[in-house]
């Protein structure tokens, strides 16, 4: 009896198996990418009722975040400003800047009719997540760390996934993000722009001993620790290179401010 099936059919099971591997890999890669906040949330850019430009106000005019989001440093909730805040500059009886602009009509109406402007919510955390702005801002986490380069956005969009894993990345290794308190609302901050003298000097001015700072810089060889600021700067330059690095800043701040971000559920879920 001859072969019922041609010879090439012997390869079908193997081909199917190889295909299946690719399919499964493809699907899981797809799900991992398309079904996670990295894809579903990042880039969300709803149209706002008033064409307010962060790029203009913050990036070009250099306004402080806290001028409008005035309670971000004291409350868990970073408030959206009232239209009174807008009218401080644009108001007919106040700053008078572009007081008749068509784009500001809704703000003026809101003031007149006492109907709030309905801003579109961009960054939304689930109801069971209790995020607190104030504790982050007061402990060296910047607006930019979570909201991205707002100063470059014409229309605000979500820059980071804001997923639980993303939060925990930072809670586990805060040294990658921490910065000096006076740089928290500086959206163009780069650690390289700091000078070592000023950075270590400021820490020393808050009562932190040179020896303690040096211990963190030279963690491998603790015998010959520098005793004054010059030696410390020299040591840091030797270790981290000519420019200040994020890790250098972050490790000092984490240790000396005792940053120990909670990792237990109760920190965010109640």
């Amino acid at each position: 009896m001859g072969n019922q099936f041609p010879r090439w059919t012997n390869w079908i099971p193997l081909k199917i198996a190889i295909m299946a591997v690719f399919m499964v890999a493809g699907v899981s890669l797809g799900v991992n990418y398309y079904f996670t906040p990295k894809y579903t949330k990042v880039g969300y850019e709803p149209t706002q009722p008033v064409p307010y430009s962060h790029k203009l106000h913050v990036g070009e005019l250099g306004m402080q975040c806290i001028y409008c989001h005035s309670f971000a440093e004291v409350s868990g909730h970073a408030n959206v400003p009232t239209n009174q805040t807008c009218l401080n500059c644009h108001g007919p009886d106040k700053g008078q800047i572009k007081k008749d602009s068509e784009k500001l009509a809704m703000v003026r109406d809101a003031d007149k009719n006492h109907t709030p402007i309905k801003w579109a919510k961009v960054h939304k955390s689930p109801d069971f997540v209790y995020f607190n702005h104030s504790v982050h801002l007061n402990r060296g986490v910047s607006c930019q760390n979570c909201h991205g380069q707002i100063n470059e956005m014409e229309v605000v969009k979500q820059a980071e996934p804001h997923s639980m894993g993303w939060c925990l990345d930072c809670h586990r290794n805060p040294e990658n993000k921490l910065r000096p308190l006076d740089q928290v609302t500086n959206l163009t901050y780069k650690p390289e722009d700091l000078t070592r003298e000023a950075f270590y000097g400021n820490l020393a001015a808050r009562g932190i001993k040179v020896a303690d700072m040096a211990k963190l810089v030279a963690d491998e060889k603790p015998e010959s620790l520098p005793q004054d600021m010059n030696q410390l700067v020299a040591l840091a330059t030797k270790k981290y290179g000519p420019k200040v690095t994020q890790l250098e800043v972050g490790r000092q701040l984490k240790e000396h401010w005792r940053i120990a971000p909670p990792e237990s559920c109760a920190a965010c879920h109640r």
Binding site: F71, D111, P116, N132, N138, L181, S264, A267, H269
Partner: protein, 1095 residues
Amino acid sequence: MKRVWQHPDESNTDRRYWRSLGEYANTPEFSEKLGREFDPGLAGETDEQRESSRRDFMKIMGGVAALSGLTLTSCRRPLQKIMPFTKHVEWIIPGKPLLYATAMPRPWGASPMVVVTHEGRPTHLQGNPLHPSGAGLDIFAQASILDLYNPERAKKPVNGGKDTDWSHFQKDLDGWIAEWKKNGGEGLALLLNPSKSPTRAGLLADFAQACPKAKVYEYEPIHQRNYDAAVKALLGEGVALLPKFAKADRVFSLDCDFVGLDTLSETATRDFMKRRAPEKKDELMNRLYILENRYTLTGGISDHRKPLAASLIPVAAAVLAEEIGKLAGDPALQQAAAALAATADAKLREWIVPAAKDLFENKGKSLVLAGSRHHEAVHAFALGINNALGAFGATLEQLKVELGYKPADIAELKADLTSKKINHLVVLAESDPAYDAEDIFKTLSSLDKHPAVTHLTDRAKHTTKFSGWTLPAAHFLESWGDVRSGDGAYSVVQPMIQPLFDGASVNDVLLSMLGRKKFGGAAPVVAKDAAPAKPESDASYEAVKAMFTKVAGGWDDEKWNNTLRDGFLAGSAFEKASASFKSTAIVSIAAKAEKPAAISKSAMEVVLTPDAKMWDGRFADNAWLQEAPDPITKLTWDNAAWISPKTFAALGLKKDGDFIKVTVGTVSLNVPALSAPGHAHDSVTIPLGYGQKSSNVVGNERGFNGYALRSGSDSFVLNGAKVEKADGNYELAITQDNYTMEGRAQVREGTKDRFDKNVDFAQTEGMDSHTPPAELTLYKGRVGIKSKENPEGFDYENEHQWGMVIDLAKCIGCSACIVACQSENNIPVVGKDQVARGRVMQWIRMDRYFSTSGGVEDRGVADIEELENPEMIHQPVACQQCESAPCETVCPVNATVHTEDGLNAMAYNRCIGTRYCANNCPYTARRFNYFDYNKRNPLIETKLPLVGNVKNLYAGPLGEKTQNETGRLQKNPNVTVRMRGVIEKCTYCVQRLESAKITQRRIGRDDKNNLRVPVDSVKTACQASCPAEAIEFGDLANKESTVNRWKDSPRNYQVLKYIGTRPRTSYLARIRNVNPLMPSADRKVKTGEASLNKA
């Protein structure tokens, strides 16, 4: 290596603690419950019924699944809006709670409180610690916030059954005012509850001037008229008495529930209980004797208690008066009491004599109190005894009070109605006179043409049926007002929110009747003597400011602001009075007392008492109170007649809920009976406030109306009642066997003698006498303090470590903490049906134990004699926050884990509802959401196609889903509202802890030595609410914290310590200060004395 844990045998003590008669007799029903996680007693449903409802459910679900396949929901992200204020509101920071001090007006004064508001919504109430008489809050004050959000509140002025608006009422009112001007208010009658509000008193005085012929009547359903009359007769007009419990070493109570429902001063509980928690040996304690017909909370904390029929209280008062008269050499008192005292039986006298001796030996430091509603003679005797004991000026302070207007009482109202002197009755009382003073309205409806009735009310009540105009009343959190507390401290009641439903306060109505306020948008007329006011200012606000000016002796901005901030005006207490005591008057009052009626099986007494949840009935629509278990009987959603076990058996009743028929005179009432240990025989107690009709399903037709039994509106002890068994059984939802822990010395108590001899007796009682070393535990997890040897332990250096201590010596069992917890943590109400199935959600369970002699060994048939007078002790149990928590090891999804600060945390969004944790919790502290109680109204029925009416919860997705929209406003935004299928439990108010830690980090910023929350600055909701200050909470890692001091107390013990869960909550043992001379020998062994193990 596997280790098999052998539970050590329970050691023998001479006291036995039990929670229900079922447990006492060890009935099979009880043992069945004990082994189960949730109460299997499915409310009168058979297996078959259950099966058919399951099939119905499957049928419906199948249909729904098919339908839902047809529609595909959109995958787009919903657009959400943020709406900022248009004009910024002063003080409000979005996301931060704002706290305001105010006070709740009460019949006896005020409950000073702090209101937590979130963006303008009041969400939680707690005691005001700054106020001189501020401690916690009682259960009523605690729950009153829910009344604000009652969806069935009166929302609009109603005229003759039709909704109108305030401007229509104003039109009518203008007409009336013109008429009153002409005739001086002839035929106008105002009916109010007495109040301690100076502004209201001022307005009523103004009103008396404006309408001299109008009459003002005042009444309180749960009144103190007899007491007031006695004080007036013996001390003269304008004197009020304030007991000073802080100075009282010996207290004798004649049926006065002063820590419970017979409030004499705001501070009674706090001051009295403070003296009952000795820290070291030989510390002085107070001692309490009590005679009462039923168990009350005061009876529960007493050192000596004797059940005595309420009709015999006058006799007991006379015997005590006679004995004290003898000892103190006060022949007048002795003679006045002689006649009545002669009728006393020998046993009663035998009990009173040593107590009298004890009181007299502590002359100047002792105090006798009488229940408010007893006969005037009882109060006269009590005052006479106090006088003989030198209590005036020492333990009983006299205060000068002045009312400023002269109200008539309700008997006069009845007379005036019958003689048709009244043509317009304005009811401004908060209570419901047609329900609780029924005979007045019976009179009213018997008239051929009854007078016009205008009724200011917060909800539709019985009185509303008679009224032409029904006006919506404002809640005290919505209106301006003022009030004086018992000692006279002046508080301003400030509004937290604009009236939700357009309500007006009593002051508003009085002002409008005086023409100083116009309803319906017209500008108010401002009083001349008020402080500078803005044009849009509210008339009530101006009236309060005017009164403040008077009380403070001149307007002062700073004083006013301080009063608003602190909640009281400093230095505004009443002046002390020193009226001389007219002891001669006692004789004439004593003569008024009738010989006590003989109480027998055929002529029992019926005692009507305020209810521990409904008070006089005004809280009927409050679901938290309805579901809070009665502190004594653990009954929810109903009332029942309390009867002693002996009488219960004699009546031929079989089980709780069997109907009895109570006949007093011509009226009879069928009411379910409850067997209540410690109750006097042949006496029936019926708590009032139930059996109302209400438009809210919460309060509609719950329980049985005790008011109906009496003929007048005055008496609370009804004699000559015929009580017989009636047919049928009523299902009562009693929680006492729910969540039962298997018992091994959970409550610990001892006498003061025992404590003085062996201060740490509590630590070696029960199983703890052979507890394994602390490191040995059944459950893994980190334990102890982190160190080199114990790297896995808790970090006491850098973290907070939270802990709690509950002092059983101070806890009275009032259950205010349950409601406080419910309010703070968004805990849903589940309804009677679910309660009966053992699904109560309250995170705190108030265990009520009775104790009798007889160790664990002689569990046998119930010994009726022994049940005559057991002792009672309460123990609140919530999650104990075990360090090595049994629940955590069994959670398959890590939804319950430990935090670095020692909390046993719950991540609700992670919980999948396996309930393993609840099964493994030895304290049964976890609750499961069987249904979406927050979304679906558990109290109603839904009509379904094909199936018909089903209970809403069981209607699945077809049920009513929009429960109580207004109630949502009360929810705490910082706590997740849990959904179906999720376990929940106490978290030590983690939201408060996190918020405190965050605030401190915000303050500390880059200073690593300033990250610890200030000592004792965080309070849990239960702690802040506790009127006895029995709960202490704080940071164990902070050496200065009070909670550490409590933990070091020799009375400190952990429940179920021997299983090694290392709970963070511990308890302090109760101490009773027993008088060895008392004939309490009827209790076979002295309280709590442990005998040496026989083994």
